[in-house]
């Protein structure tokens, strides 16, 4: 499986990238940005992806950054998964992040693969896609035409399809972290997979804010693997408002979890996805509640 022929552009600046992408578009060629390559190159080796041009952005040192300020995690296109994993402050800022990042592939995937690359690739089962939804995230795109920001709800349009246009570089992503461990806040990420490091079968990301009396003041729940794209279980979220965060309350609220159109596939049946989505969602809520109460997560 050798990659098909392509032309290679090594960008040294952002404008190089924009120019290259725009040129390809106007030449009616397919151009893809090459950052970590952990998602794109396997597809090329399988000859399932045959871009005419690859625009390598790895020289753009200014894109390799991440900062956590005022509860907002902002990271550039070359921020590797490992950069987050190795930052104790960021990992401590969110239980869901701490749970999810070590589950992304394997160490060598995390060393080279990028957060933004995962968002740009658009696999509905990718941890970062679910976290974008959980954390009110946004993606910043840039091109010759300018910059724009797309919110989490509008980012993933389908399997490997995002809101990015062909001439746009996904330049940055932001996540509003809930400051777990801070007063009454906790989040968690739970997934089911056949093996460690595999893409999940189903996953749930939950974030809870508890009021002074210990009741649920705000809840967010994202479910992945149940239906074509991950979604916010809004009905469950509103159903939890004001309740004490008990397993029974969670189970009750989860009854309104939509079944979406889960499909049978090679890895799991639709019935299995429906069943375990509720299981992992409950576990994520329990863990988030535990962290919000200051106790150890389940």
């Amino acid at each position: 499986m050798k990659a098909p022929a392509f032309e290679y552009v090594r960008a040294e600046s952002l404008s190089d990238v924009h120019e290259a992408l725009e040129e390809a578009l106007s030449d009616d060629l397919v151009a893809k940005v090459l950052a970590g390559g952990q998602s794109l190159v396997p597809l090329m080796n399988f000859r399932l992806a045959r871009p005419d041009r690859l625009v390598d952005i790895n020289r753009l040192g200014e894109l390799r950054h991440h900062e956590l300020e005022g509860g907002v995690l902002r990271l550039g296109a070359l921020c590797r998964h490992a950069d987050i994993e190795r930052d104790p402050d960021v990992m401590a800022a969110s239980g869901a992040l701490a749970d999810a990042v070590p589950l992304i592939g394997h160490p060598s995937v995390r060393a080279r693969g990028t957060v933004v690359g995962s968002l740009a690739h658009g696999d509905p089962l990718a941890e970062w896609i679910a976290l974008l939804l959980l954390f009110d995230g946004a993606v910043t795109l840039s091109s010759r035409r300018g910059r724009r920001t797309v919110g989490a709800a509008d980012w993933l349009e389908g399997y490997l399809r995002t809101a990015a246009a062909d001439d746009e570089l996904v330049e940055e992503a932001t996540f509003v972290l809930p400051g777990d461990g801070g007063p009454g806040r906790g989040s968690a990420f739970v997934e089911v997979a056949h093996r460690h490091g595999d893409f999940c079968l189903v996953a749930a990301a939950a974030s809870l804010t508890l009021g002074d009396g210990g009741e649920v003041a705000a809840a967010r729940l994202v479910v992945a693997g149940l239906g074509p794209v991950p979604f916010r279980a809004v009905g469950v979220e509103t159903g939890l408002a004001g309740l004490r965060p008990t397993e029974a309350a969670f189970a009750q609220a989860l009854e309104s979890l939509p079944d979406e159109d889960a499909q049978d596939d090679l890895h799991a049946t639709a019935g299995y996805r429906r069943h375990t989505a509720r299981v992992v969602a409950a576990r994520a809520l329990v863990a988030a509640a535990g962290r919000a109460s200051g106790g150890a997560a389940a």
Binding site: M1, K2, A3, P4, A5, F46, R47, V192, H194, R195, H196, G197, D198, F199, D264, D265, L266, H267, A268, T269, A270, G271, Y272, R274, H275, T276, V279, V280, R283
Partner: protein, 792 residues
């Protein structure tokens, strides 16, 4: 008579290891040669179709392409590819209570007119490098008229079914029927009867190295040399010679370092025939390295047996009779039916006392990849069926599994025990020295001494389950070895068999080292090359240590006698007063009166001054071919501890305990490694692995993302113990171990899940089909979430 040296039995670090850890292994894909061209294939995207157009023009015109070859180009040069490796021995053919129908395996080298499985080669591109060859393959225009494929065994056996192989229009690859005892009578009289359906799904061996073939020839020179990532260099040689109308001696097949085989490389593949042909046509070296995608759709699969078993038994659990009917899905060819299928006949019973047994097997052809003996080869499928039978019996009787097992176990006092079935070599099965009672007792002791740690957390259940296995090992027809001393005085072993990680270069050296009183590092061992020995077979079926090892021992002993005779003449001392040690021969008690092995070698050089010592030929080489009387029986007991997450159905195998008897152990480190690896493969088969085809015969598991083999996280901790009843069927006293760990592991895992779920189980039959996916675990406790794709 030995030297007093004692390397056999020592856990010597395999010498191969020091080469591999430095990255200095030379696998077929690593070999370098100037002018080496690369091959890529155009492969069928359809399970069954008529080829209506095949246009290679654009491909041939691509820069860097040397040739594009189709079936038409082979016409008249390559005979139709037909394999018939096995014969039905008289002991089986002439038995009135047995019937066998064995067919040849016909597989095209390149598809002609029709394609019969996804992945079948249609055209081969030869180019300056692999990337260019793949680019050219993309340019080949292949048009197909889809035909109705034969996808399942039902499809194959249906009236009016499409024909997979015109030479076998009934879609049968093999049939067997074997009986002993009064099965019908036993069922009639039995107070209890039970039925189960046990399925072992289709799997693939998945060695980490895919296949690769490098063939080299030169214009004007007769002969071809083929390096192939194979377990059976001699079978490949014979097939190439036969199909290219060459003499076997003009075909040299070499197995270089091979990165695992496990049975998948025990087949002779179309690519081996084709590459030899290409090398000869082009007059130069050509290489094909299989990529992993190709591997899933062309390298042979294994298992895929569906058993319907009935057992008749007493109220106290004693078995009266067993009747097993099984179906096997063979893909387009079944080259080793006497192994894959007949092993059910010889292993279903295990070490249980079963007075009457009937086994009936129907092995059918379908439009899928060929099915060959994957590690265990019929033994895991039958052990699983048997162990689940015992589990179901135990459930019905309300008794523990081990109690029911013990009620039926043969004991050491029963040995030697003639079972009533015949082994595939035609010899009636007589268990030699098997003590399963002690093995089980040791297993229980091992579990107690080395328990699995940890209580089940909330929402989880944990349990331990058991399985037992027997393994007929060291099957013939033979394997050979030559031991010689070269011009430097060095001991050299050239053996049949081939290595894919079994450390044979070390174990065979240990055997010779003991005979000659030298350190094993001083013994050079070579194998896997048909030019070393005229006759050979290969490495599979847990046979190499037994057969090549015994041949090595016998050749070493003959050589020793020869050396002593020559030394006696040189030193003018009686051979009985000489000692062979440390690279020479010396007088007992007077070490200064000595000759080196090099001196001895030089003395046997032809010519007038040759020392003859009554020998009829010059030189210092002795050959031996060991023909075993029949197989010798390894056996053992396995337990597994699992954790079941009741919410998700995910099963983790925490620990596996194995007690094995493989007779005398040449190198304990090597034996442990074999057991460890086989157990992990068993875990894979139990929970994770399944080759899946859709309703049109399109394979869905074509990468390591879809076909799941255990990683370091899913692989259990192991505890091992052994007993050693030496075999009397070979001069070494050894029994095989290569497949032992895989046979009973799936049983132990399934039984452990049942034990873990305990009173929650409402449908134990969910655990009778491998792989046991999470959906099945949930279904076992009454939660129906649909049937997953990976389960047959």
């Amino acid at each position: 008579m030995t030297t007093g040296a004692d390397y056999v039995g020592q856990p010597l670090v395999p010498r191969e290891n020091r080469v591999f850890v430095r990255g200095k292994g030379a696998y077929a894909g690593d070999l370098a040669m100037s002018g080496l061209l690369s091959v890529a294939f155009v492969r069928s995207p359809s399970a069954r179709a008529r080829i209506t157009a095949l246009d290679t023009t654009a491909a041939r015109e691509l820069d860097g392409v040397v040739a594009v070859v189709t079936a038409e180009d082979l016409e008249g040069h390559v005979a139709p590819f037909r394999l018939m490796h096995e014969v039905v021995p008289p002991g089986i053919a002439q038995n009135p209570r047995i019937s066998v129908d064995l067919r040849a395996c016909n597989v095209p080298v390149l598809a002609r007119g029709e394609v019969s499985h996804v992945g079948q080669g249609v055209a081969a591109v030869v180019a300056v490098d692999r990337a260019t060859a793949e680019d050219a393959a993309d340019l080949v225009r292949l048009e197909l008229e889809e035909l109705e494929p034969v996808v399942t065994t039902d499809d194959a056996l249906a009236a009016g079914a499409a024909v997979v192989d015109p030479a076998n229009p009934d879609n049968l690859a093999f049939r067997l029927h074997s009986e002993f005892g009064d099965v019908a009578g036993a069922f009639e009289r039995a107070p209890r009867r039970l039925s189960l359906r046990a399925k072992s799904g289709r799997v693939t061996a998945s060695p980490m190295e895919t296949r690769a073939v490098l063939a080299s020839a030169a214009r004007g020179v007769e002969g071809v040399t083929v390096w192939s990532s194979t377990q059976v260099p001699y079978l490949v040689r014979s097939a190439i010679a036969q199909h290219l109308a060459m003499r076997e001696e003009d075909v040299r097949v070499i197995a270089p370092d091979v990165g695992g085989g496990f049975g998948a490389k025990v087949h002779v593949y179309p690519e081996e025939i084709l590459l030899a042909f290409l090398a000869r046509s082009l007059g130069g070296p050509v290489r094909w390295v299989e990529d992993r995608l190709e591997h899933f759709v062309t390298t042979a699969h294994g298992r895929d047996q569906d058993h319907h078993l009935d057992v008749a038994f007493e109220d106290d659990g004693r078995i009266l009779a067993v009747r097993d009917h099984f179906l096997q899905d063979c893909g387009i060819g079944f080259p080793f039916p006497m192994s894959s299928a007949w092993n059910v006949v010889s292993h279903l019973q295990g070490l249980l006392r079963i007075p009457a047994m009937e086994v009936d097997g129907t092995c059918v052809l379908t439009n899928k990849v060929v099915n060959v003996p994957y590690r265990g080869s019929g033994r895991p499928e039958s052990a699983f069926t048997r162990d689940r039978m015992v589990a179901h019996m135990a459930r019905e009787l309300g008794a523990p599994f081990l109690d029911v097992l013990r009620r039926n176990l043969l004991s050491l006092a029963d040995m030697p025990y003639e079972t009533g079935a015949i082994y595939r070599d035609g010899v009636p099965i007589v268990y030699d020295g098997c003590d399963m009672e002690t093995a089980v007792a040791k297993l229980e002791a091992l579990i107690e001494e080395s328990p699995a740690v940890g209580e089940a957390p909330p929402g989880h259940r944990r349990g331990i389950g058991y399985g037992t296995y027997t393994e007929g090992t060291g099957v013939g027809p033979f394997e050979g070895a030559a031991v010689s001393i070269d011009e430097t005085g060095r001991l050299v072993v050239t053996a049949g068999g081939a290595s894919q990680g079994q450390s044979q270069h070390t174990t065979l050296a240990q055997i010779v080292a003991d005979e000659f009183g030298v350190g094993p590092d001083e013994v050079l061992v070579r194998n896997g090359d048909t030019s070393f020995l005229r006759y050979g077979v290969g490495t599979f079926a847990s046979r190499t240590t037994i057969l090549a090892g015994s041949a090595t021992l016998e050749a070493a002993r003959k050589l020793r006698e020869r050396v002593l005779a020559v030394a006696a003449e040189l030193l003018e001392i009686d051979a009985a007063d000489l000692v062979v040690a440390e690279g020479g021969v010396s007088a007992r008690g007077t070490p200064s009166r000595a000759v080196s092995l090099r001196d001895v070698f030089m003395a046997t050089w032809p010519g007038p001054r040759r020392v003859t010592a009554g020998l009829d030929s010059p030189g210092l080489t002795e050959q031996s071919y060991f023909v075993p009387p029949t197989v010798t029986w390894s056996y053992g007991a396995v337990a597994a501890a699992v954790d079941v997450d009741l919410g998700t159905g995910i099963v983790a195998v925490e620990k596996v305990w194995v007690v094995h008897d493989c007779g005398r152990i040449i190198n304990p480190l090597v034996v442990e490694g074999q057991v460890d690896g086989a157990v992990a493969q068993g875990v894979g088969a139990a929970l994770l692995e399944g080759i899946v085809y859709d309703g049109s015969g399109i394979p869905l598991t074509t990468s390591f993302m879809d076909y799941l083999i255990p990683t370091a996280v899913e692989s259990p901790e192991l505890a091992k113990d052994h007993l050693a009843i030496w075999s009397e069927r070979n001069p070494l006293g050894v029994k095989g171990i290569g497949e032992s760990g895989i046979i009973a592991t799936p049983s132990a895992v399934a039984n452990a899940i049942e034990a873990a779920l305990g009173d929650l189980v409402v449908d134990p039959a969910q655990l009778d089909t491998l792989p046991i996916r999470p959906e099945a675990v949930l279904a076992a406790v009454g939660l129906d979430v649909g049937r997953p794709a990976a389960r047959p």
